[in-house]
């Protein structure tokens, strides 16, 4: 898959993975493993990007006498999910157009 397209999908997948409850790195990877292929080194910059974009917050909590970082979705992050789905409709239309061999008929 095109790497740019994949990163965009992954960002939204990560947001979806923490939308229900706060989560941590390893759990996010495990939760997403059935859906998309994501490695630790792919996840890390995505988390950082989402954090700097205000889509999630990071906090540390003690777990088995060590600190574990938890990721918590923000309101802005929540809003990204429906926004993505809406954008995806545009992509879906383009995909349809391509699938139909560039036929304008499908465009309405």
């Amino acid at each position: 898959m095109d790497i740019q397209l994949k990163r965009g999908l992954l960002e939204t997948c990560v947001l979806a993975a923490i939308a229900g409850a706060d989560s941590y790195g390893y759990k996010i990877i495990k939760d997403l493993s059935g859906v998309v292929e994501i490695s630790e080194s792919t996840l890390y910059p995505i988390l950082k990007r989402l954090e700097s974009g205000g889509c999630l917050r990071v906090y540390s909590e003690e777990h088995n006498s060590r600190l574990r970082k938890y990721y918590s979705i923000t309101q802005k992050g929540r809003e990204r999910i429906p926004a993505f789905l809406e954008e995806w409709e545009t992509v879906a239309r383009v995909v349809n157009y391509i699938k139909n061999g560039g036929s304008q008929n499908e465009q309405g």
């Binding site: 740019q4 397209l5 990163r7 941590y24 790195g25 490695s39 600190l67 970082k69 992509v91």
Partner: protein, 316 residues
């Protein structure tokens, strides 16, 4: 490889990063290994599931290839600086000796920079793909600001054009003019001494001017409020917005002050005597502290709004 060896190797591979960033990255991978061990793997197995540190560093490299480049120019050889950017904040800051430019390029954006007969042209060239614009791809493209450093010895004209991003200028002093355009973003001007005109136009953003000494100030926004605090214009000052209030505190101008809004109140103080002005003012749906039409002064004051009060005091 055990955990300690893996982390040591990772540290070496990403050594070029900022210290805080480096520590965060290392602790992120330490946590992943700990979680896997807790899940039943041995340390060696946990490390084996991860990519090699060199691979990790390379993956990061492709994501964070944005880098900073400072360029330096002799102000004596320049009379005009033009910056055309897209979706990128621009900060104008003071520099001691040279005109300096700091910018970030990445795989989807670069700058063409040229000096031609005393004009420095800085033009952003974007190769963003359509899916970058609809939320795909690198989420943080374009958010790192372009920084223009201006020394007092610069004399001439600076024009900045960007979009969807703020422009700010602080503590800058030079002889000449400053023209700035952006959209959907605010302006912040603080502590400027510019002999010529400052012209600032935005939409959907507020304009804040504090401690400004200039030839003329023309600030225009739509859907944004305007604040002018301790602003002195040798010739004229014009503050225009719609759907926003205008606050002026201790402003003065040699010849003319014009403040216009709609759907916003206009209030504050002018550092002059009322009788120095020929005044024309009008509001509908609000009280007005100024006379509607009072000729006789050597300077002009025009204040109009609708759906808002006008409350201007003179404190010379």
């Amino acid at each position: 490889m055990n955990k300690a060896e893996f982390l040591a190797e990772l540290r070496t591979q990403i050594a070029a990063r900022a210290p805080e960033d480096l520590e965060r990255t290392v602790s992120y991978f330490a946590e992943i290994i700990d979680d896997r061990v807790e899940d039943g793997m041995s340390e060696a197995e946990a490390v084996a599931t991860l990519e090699a540190p060199a691979q990790i560093a390379e993956n990061f490299g492709s994501v964070q290839s944005a880098h900073k480049k400072p360029d330096s120019y002799d102000p004596a050889l320049l009379h005009t600086i033009n910056v055309y950017d897209i979706n990128c904040p621009v900060f104008i800051v003071p520099r001691r000796e040279n005109v300096e430019l700091e910018y970030h390029e990445h795989e989807r954006k670069h700058y063409t920079i040229s000096v031609d007969n005393g004009t420095l042209n800085v033009v952003a060239v974007s190769s963003m793909k359509w899916y970058n614009w609809i939320g795909f791809g690198h989420g943080n493209f374009g958010f790192q600001p372009l920084v223009l450093g201006v020394p007092e010895s610069f004399s001439g004209r600076i024009m900045i054009k960007t979009s969807n991003a703020e422009v700010s200028a602080s503590d800058v002093k030079f002889n000449g003019g400053l023209l700035i355009r952006t959209s959907n973003a605010r302006f912040n001007f603080r502590n400027l001494k510019i002999s010529g005109e400052i012209s600032a136009q935005t939409s959907n953003g507020r304009i804040a001017c504090q401690f400004i000494d200039c030839g003329s100030l023309n600030a225009e926004s739509s859907n944004g409020r305007i604040e002018a605090v301790h602003v002195k214009a040798a010739v004229e000052m014009s503050l225009v917005t719609s759907n926003g209030r205008v606050e002026v505190q201790h402003i003065s101008a040699g010849q003319r002050i014009a403040v216009h809004s709609s759907n916003g109140r206009i209030y504050g103080t002018i550092d002059d005597k009322m009788r120095d002005f020929s005044i024309r003012s009008h509001t509908s749906n609000g009280t007005n502290s100024l006379p509607g039409d009072m000729p006789g002064g050597s300077k002009d004051l025009e204040v109009t709004t609708s759906n808002g009060t006008i409350d201007i005091r003179f404190c010379a």
